[in-house]
């Protein structure tokens, strides 16, 4: 089963949740949205944790751009706009976990 973590603010328990799902052989993706995009910023002390999870990371392009952190991203994210966010949510993943 494919889970999409819709992450809009903090990173509390991200490893706990993603790790459990991965070790149970599920596919997991993380969508950084709103303040969630700071998790990929080089100033965030938790970005290493996210990197180690080794899962696809999507980041909302409008939210990265308005915050001016495009050149500061330290995680290999796929930038997505609303059409792709809808597609991830409705088609590419089976179930959403909002955090």
């Amino acid at each position: 089963m494919k889970f999409l973590i819709w992450l809009s603010s903090e990173c509390q328990s991200l490893e706990e949740m993603v790790g459990a799902l991965k070790r149970a052989n599920h596919e997991v993706g993380v969508l950084l949205i709103q303040d969630g995009v700071y998790l990929a910023d080089r100033g965030c002390s938790h970005s290493d944790e996210l990197k180690k999870l080794d899962v696809p990371v999507y980041a909302s392009k409008p939210h990265v751009e308005e915050r001016g952190i495009m050149d500061r991203l330290v995680i290999d994210v796929k930038l997505v706009d609303y059409p792709e966010i809808v597609d991830l949510t409705m088609e590419q993943y089976d179930r959403i976990i909002s955090t």
């Binding site: 949205i33 809808v86 597609d87 949510t89 409705m90």
Partner: protein, 121 residues
Amino acid sequence: MEKKTLGILIMSGPYTFQNSHTFYNFVRTALDKGYGVKVFLFVDGVNNAKLNQDPSPDEPMNERFQELADLGVEFQACGLCTSARGFDQSGADFIPGVEVSGLTEFAEIVGEVDRFVTLSI
């Protein structure tokens, strides 16, 4: 094949949190792609539907929510949350198309959608 339906729970009010903007863009795009959308306004989320909001011109929340309702989005608002905040239980303080109901209607939405997203604070 029937298009899937998206369910959303929103618990934050407009202006203070970015959720309402993301909500509009996300839902509007889902509609454009042909998906159905059902929304439950919970806790401060009911404030999004309040009539006569007069924010800065680039954030016309009433027009945006009205637009979504006119395009067929189902909006249910938590009744207890509505009366707690001093708004009319009939829905008279809300944009047309928002129905004041309760958690049973929320549970109904949950049973009718293919994907579910929570927008919390």
